[in-house]
Amino acid sequence: MTRPPAPDRDPGLQPERTRLAWRRTTLSSTVAAVLAAKAALHGGIRAEGIVICALCCTLWLAFLTVAHHRISTLTAGGTPPPLTPRHATTAVLCTVAMAVCAAVLVY
C-alpha cells in the first residue's frame, strides 16, 4: 500500500526547509532593525538619530529584497539553483552595516 511519491517533490523537503530558514533569518533581521530604530530614536528626535534610523530601515529592506528573491526562486518548483555568492554577500553586508550603525549609536 505504499504510494509512490509525487515525482517533482524532494522527499526531504529541502527547498521548503531552506525557504523557512530564510524566513527565520528575515525575522531575526527584523528584530535587529526594530532594536536599531528604538536605539536611534531613544531620548528625543535628533538629526543623526533619524539618519541612522532611515539607514537601518533601508538595510532591512535590502535584506528583505534578497530573502524575497531567494524564497520566490525556491518556491518556483523543479530543481532549485544554488544560492549565488552575490546574494549571500549582499545579505552579509546588510548585517555588517547594521552592526556599524549600532556601533555609531552606542558610542
Binding site: 526547509r17 533569518t25 528604538k38 531613544h42 545579505a91 552579509v92 555588517v96 552592526a99 552606542v106
Partner: protein, 130 residues
C-alpha cells in the same frame, strides 16, 4: 591571509565558482545554504544583543556598557563575515569533490560566549553584594 583574500574575491564573482569542478547534488547546496543562514542568524542575534545591552542596561557604568555592546557587535560582524567565507569554501570544496573545510571558529565563539556569560554572573552577584 592570501587564501582569505582569494575567498573575498569569490564572494563577488559567482562565475569563478561555477567554472570549477562539477555541480554537486542540489540538496547539498541547500544544506550549505541553511548552515550559512543559521550562522547569519547567530550574527544577527549577537548584534541584537549589542543593541539590547546599550538600551536595557542604563544603570551600568558607561565604560562597561559601551565595552560589552561593542564586543557583542564585533562578534556579530566577525560571525557574519565568517558565515559567507565558510559558505564559499564549502561550496567550492563540494564542487571539487574535496573534504569540507574544518574550522576552529565554533570553538572560539563558544568560549567567547561562555566568558561573557560568566562575566554577567559576576556582575549580577557583585550587584547583589554591593
Amino acid at each position: 591571509m592570501i587564501d582569505f583574500a582569494r575567498n573575498v574575491r569569490l564572494w563577488f564573482a559567482p562565475q569563478e565558482i561555477s567554472e570549477e569542478g562539477a555541480t554537486p547534488d542540489y540538496r547539498f547546496s541547500l544544506a550549505n545554504e541553511r548552515t550559512f543562514l543559521a550562522w547569519l542568524r547567530t550574527a544577527l542575534a549577537l548584534i541584537g544583543g549589542g543593541f539590547a545591552v546599550d538600551q536595557f542596561l542604563p544603570d551600568l557604568r558607561w565604560a562597561w556598557r559601551v565595552g560589552l555592546a561593542l564586543a557583542l557587535l564585533a562578534a556579530g560582524v566577525l560571525c557574519s563575515l565568517r558565515a559567507v567565507n565558510h559558505w564559499v569554501r564549502c561550496e567550492r570544496a563540494m564542487r571539487r569533490g574535496e573534504d569540507l573545510p574544518v574550522s576552529r571558529f565554533p570553538a572560539l565563539l563558544s568560549i567567547a560566549v561562555a566568558i561573557v556569560a560568566v562575566a554577567m554572573v559576576v556582575v549580577v552577584l557583585a550587584g547583589w553584594a554591593g
